[in-house]
Amino acid sequence: MMNRIKKVATVFRDTLREIFDESAYRRFLERSQLESSPNAYAIFQKENEQLKSRRPRCC
């Protein structure tokens, strides 16, 4: 039972991290082999700017 609750909580946390781009930032850091810093985040945002800008939001 506890394992199941833990699993649900993990998926819930992962969902929020994906929705809020935290996972994307983590992947970026891994890919670029950078430590999290204001500079690294600025590069991540610049890289994702077009991607995010083109993402439609429904009505």
Binding site: T15, E18, F28, C59
Partner: protein, 691 residues
Amino acid sequence: MPKFVSVVLWIAVSLLGAFALATIAFHRGEQINALWLVVAAVSTYAVAYRFYSAFISAKVLALDPVRATPAERLENGRDFVPTNKWVVFGHHFAAIAGPGPLVGPVLAAQFGYLPGTLWIIAGAVLGGCVQDFVILLLSVRRDGKSLTEMAKTEIGRVGGMVAYVAVLSIVVILLAVVALIVVNALKSSPWGAFTIAMTMPIALLMGLYLRRIRPGKVLESSVLGFVLVIAAIFGGQWVSQTPSWAAVWTLTAPTLAILIVIYGFAASALPVWLLLAPRDYLSTFVKLGTIVLLAIGIVALRPSLHMPPLTRFADGNGPVFAGKIFPFAFITIACGAISGFHALISSGTTPKLIRRETETRMVGYGGMLAESLVAIMAMIAACSLQPGVYFAVNSPAGIVGAAPAAAATTISGWGFPVTDTQMAALAHAVGEQTLYNRTGGAPAFAVGMAEIFSDTLGGEAVMALWYHFAIMFEALFILTILDAGTRVGRFMLQDALGHIWKPLGRTSWYPSILFTSAVIVAAWGYFLWQGIKDPLGGINSLWPLFGICNQLLATVALCVASTIIVKMALAKTERVNTARPTVRLGYVFVTLLPLCWLVAVTFTASWHKVLDPNPRIGFLSHARQLVAAGANPRLIFNDRLDAGLTAMLVAMVSLILIESAVACLRIISGSKPAVTKEAPFVRTTLAEELG
């Protein structure tokens, strides 16, 4: 679960759903409890998901669990990332859920709760969910191609061009309509205007926090932003109760419209990290939380529906918008039942995250079911209001009169009693100066939501806070769409202009950014201005126009889907994976059925909006009436422009329908080879890992 138990369980769920549907359909006289709507919807969704979507998965789309998806084959850690199905579900739902499923049902409630509810349930399970699911899978099989690209490669160049124009038109009209909803919700409301204005510095602060203080900690900054927004709601109460500040923040509709246009331009031209991204995060955070809260409130309170199942306005003379149930209820409720805009998301980010084809069922079909449930909740919020109150809030001054007493008398004369004292008390309870003529759906939804929330938590003393929380929630949603939509429109325009003069296509060249942002903002700003100057409230002409655009886009999506299914059924190519079953031609009915319905709805609605002799419905007859009255030529031009736009869209969608039908007939007759443009089959390496 043993098969016998499963069979008994599903028979029980089906019977429960049928009984609930019969109750809401045949109940007359006494009020019914809102839970009947929830039970009818949830049971139908469960049966549809278990059986209909399983049929589509197995027989129509022949989902292949061993075929590698683009997320696996093209994984790059950026846009192509194999992701857990529940995570993709949450991501997809957050992208498709906007203010549409909240506002549409509130407006359609003028017909009573029955037409809208039945359309939300049936439209979703047979149309919207099918469209989202099928387009998602087809995009997955084409390396995550967009709807416009699929239309171009699978139907023809006309298809691609029509899809492009339909998308651009819908973006412009959508932005104008949602901006109008915000204007109508915030005009003469110092509390609301202050709270929403504060969300801008809060978003900027979040942007700086993310960039400088805690890089990448989005959830943390969203919680911080949320706390600040709640503080802004309390601040708004203080502002509204302080005469000098209240005067500053009491804004007229034209002032608000100008401010929103300026804001839209700035948001489109500013760097994403500064305003767009943090506002998007904040809006999503509030959106997901509020939807859950509303669901809990409805289940806990189980409100009665005061609105009758069918009102006298089924005859087409409704004050909220003119037109009969068919076709207008079906274009008014788009996002909760079927929305073409969803096809853009199903062929945008989501297909690039899907790990296995089989997961498209839960994400595409299941995601739309969740959206539909949100629309049911909006219908409940609107119909739990006293009908007299509902019509007083939603009717424009041009119909019921500008004076409160006259409006109350007119509405009571329709058989929906309401008094001026009652409206004044309600306005006082929610902290507003007046609730008359607050067209657009958002204020009515906010009053309904505030009643549900305050009855569940806090009582009447906190009703004003809940009302402004609801307004803030809707306006935040909408401003996010304005930010993101203006940018999407800008990029589309830059892509197109780049073919004419290359520098204009450069998305990082500032003169191009400023020029294209100005064009997009001017386009939706024009329609917004038209809306606020319209004596019938603007929503009467703009919401149906938006509904028509949206449903025409769904028509394009279903057309693409039907053409591809025909090709899949008749393709003679050697099948690499022999385990994948063949698709029968007859199964094209799953997309053809909603396609035919949408063609009937949108073409009829367009005919009425252009040519109907009733000036409240037809743009041209309204223009003639204005000419006869010697009205401002600008108003006459606006009507003709709306008529021209509608006719152009219908003509273009007719072209894509003809091109698609000709292509299908040639394939069926054997004069054209059935070749689909799927990416080549590659066996997944994730199969063992995923089980």
